[in-house]
Assembly symmetry: C2
Homo-oligomer: 297 residues x 2
C-alpha cells in the first residue's frame, strides 16, 4: 500500500497539523490530523517533537518531509523568507529552508508589486499550485481559498502573479461571538442572498450594521442572522476582489459547503461559478510539485 510513497507532506497552520503520505503523482496515500497543535501556539523547541509524533507511523520509510503554512512564519518553527510574486513551484523550491535534517519548510509568497499595498500568504501558495489538474493547460486562472483570511490569487502560466486577502472568516467568527442570533438547522438562503446583495453594494462598515438594524426592527429573525452576516461578508469580499476575476471558472479550494456559498454569491454577482477542489488533495499535489522541481538547489 505504501510502495509508491515518495514524500511526507505537512500542512501546518495556526490551529492544525495535517500530515500526508504522498505518492509520486501527488496523491494522498495515508493521513493524520492533529488539532490544538498550531505552529504559532507551540513554544520554541516544541516543533520537532510535535512533528515526530504526527508522522511516527511513517518513521521507517525514510522519506523527505516538506511542510508549508504558518510553521514558516515569524512566530512558527523557523521563519522562512517570503518569495516575491510572480512565484511558481521552482521559485518556492529555491526558497525552501531546512528546519532540521530531512525536514524542509516551504516559503510563503509576498506580493509587493504595489509597495503601498503589500500582500502575503503562507500555506495557500502550495494549495494553489496544486489546485490544477495535470491536464489543465489554461494560461490564466483565478484561485480562491476561502477561510479566516480568504485569498484570491491570479495565476499566469503556473505562476502566482497577483494576490488579495479579505478577513472574511475572521470577521464572521468575531461578530458571531459578540452579536445576537441562533444557528439555523439548515442554511437560511434567502437571508444569505439578501446579505450578499447588501454587502456587495455598500461599504462594509455601514452594511454590517444592517444586521443589527434589521434584527431590531424584526426584518431579520434570530435564526436568519448568521447566514445574513455570512452573505454580507462574502458579498463584500467579492466586491473587493472582483477586478481579479476573469471569464474562466475560478478554482475554489475548500469544503463543498463553503463552495456552495461562494458559488451562489458569485453567480448572483455576475461572476463565473467556481469549480470546487479539495484542500487536502491540493496541498499534497502542491507539495509534490514543489519537491519535484529541478531548481537552483
Amino acid at each position: 500500500m505504501t510502495a509508491a510513497a515518495a514524500l511526507i507532506g505537512v500542512d501546518w497552520g495556526s490551529t492544525h497539523l495535517r500530515a500526508y503520505l504522498i505518492d509520486e503523482d501527488g496523491s494522498v496515500l495515508e493521513r493524520s490530523e492533529w488539532a490544538a497543535c498550531g505552529a504559532p501556539a507551540l513554544a520554541i523547541g516544541e516543533h520537532a517533537g510535535a512533528l515526530a509524533r504526527a508522522i511516527a507511523p511513517w518513521r521507517g520509510l525514510e522519506l523527505p518531509i516538506l511542510a508549508c503554512g504558518m510553521v514558516g512564519a515569524r512566530n512558527g518553527w523557523r521563519e522562512v523568507p517570503y518569495r516575491s510574486a510572480p512565484a511558481d513551484a521552482a521559485s518556492l523550491r529555491a526558497g525552501l529552508l531546512q528546519a532540521q535534517p530531512g525536514v524542509w519548510l516551504v516559503p510563503g509568497v509576498l506580493d509587493a508589486t504595489d509597495p503601498d499595498r503589500v500582500e502575503v500568504m503562507r500555506g495557500e501558495e502550495t494549495q494553489i499550485l496544486g489546485a490544477r489538474e495535470p491536464d489543465e493547460r489554461a494560461e490564466e486562472a483565478l484561485a480562491i481559498c476561502p477561510g479566516t483570511h480568504s485569498k484570491w490569487a491570479r495565476l499566469r502560466r503556473g505562476s502566482i502573479v497577483g494576490l488579495r486577502t479579505c478577513v472574511t472568516g475572521d470577521l464572521y467568527a468575531a461578530l458571531r461571538e459578540r452579536w445576537p442570533g441562533v444557528e439555523p438547522a439548515s442554511p437560511a438562503w434567502a437571508a444569505f442572498d439578501r446579505g450578499v446583495a447588501r454587502g456587495a453594494r455598500e461599504p462594509l462598515a455601514s452594511a454590517l450594521f444592517s444586521a443589527r438594524a434589521d434584527y431590531a426592527t424584526r426584518r431579520l429573525q434570530p435564526e436568519e442572522l448568521p447566514d445574513y452576516l455570512s452573505g454580507l461578508l462574502i458579498g463584500a469580499e467579492i466586491a473587493a476582489c472582483r477586478d481579479l476575476a476573469g471569464a474562466e471558472a475560478p478554482l475554489l479550494i475548500g469544503a463543498p459547503a463553503l463552495a456552495a456559498r461562494y458559488g451562489r454569491a458569485m453567480r448572483a454577482q455576475g461572476l463565473a461559478e467556481p469549480s470546487q477542489r479539495d484542500a487536502a488533495a491540493c496541498v499534497a499535489r502542491g507539495l509534490m510539485r514543489i519537491w519535484r522541481e529541478k531548481g537552483e538547489r
Copy 2:
C-alpha cells in the same frame, strides 16, 4: 444646591446606567453612574429596582424621571416603538412610554426613508437633540456620535432627517481581542494616519488585512498595530458617511481623546473639523428639551 432641579434624567445603555439631576436649563446638577447594570443585561422585573438604587439620593424631590437608550429596546425594560425620521423633540415626547408611575422611556428613531436600508438609534437621538447650544440657529447640522456603533445624523431645523451607522468600535474591540499588537504609551499618530488613508480608499474587507500583512513583513511594529487599526476603521467610517457631511463643522459628541482622532482623520480626508461636545451634557439637555415640549400628550 438642588433648588432648581426639574428632572431626573437617565442614560441607560448596554453596559452603564448614568443618572443626572437636571435643572430647568438642562444643566447637570448632580450625577451617579452605575457600571455592570446594562439595560439588556438585567432580567425581566429587575429594572425598577436598579433604577430606584441609582436615583435613591434624589428620592425626596418627587421629580419626573425620563430615561433614554437601550432601556427601551426589545430586550430592555419595556420596548418603546421607534419614531420615524424626520424626528424632533416634539415627536420623541409624543412617543414616550410610561414604564411605571413617574418614569417615562424615550423612543428611539427609525429612518426607513429607503426601505432597503433601514437605520435605527436608541439614546443617541437624545444626545443629538441636546448637542446644539441654545443660541445655535443653523438650519443644517451634522452630528456624529462615535462609539461601538458610530452614528452620523443629519439635522434640519432641529429634526433628525437622515441617519447612518458604522460598527467601528465593535470591530475595533473584536479585532483587538483576536489580533496581535501591544497598546502604546501614547497614540502612534503616524500609524493612525496611514490607517486612515488606507481605510478611506480601499474596501474594508481587504484593507483590514493590511494590518496583518504589514505586521508580518515588519512594516508595522507591534505597538503601532492598535492605532493603525483604529485609523483604518475611522477612515472607512468617514468614507462610508461622507455624503452626509456639509461645509459646516460637525458636532462630535464624545470624549476629547476620541474627538482628536476624528478631527485628525476628517481633516486629512478634506472634511470640516468637528466641534467636540460632552456626551453627558448633551444627554441632560436633550432630555430636558424633550420633556419641555408641549406635544400632543
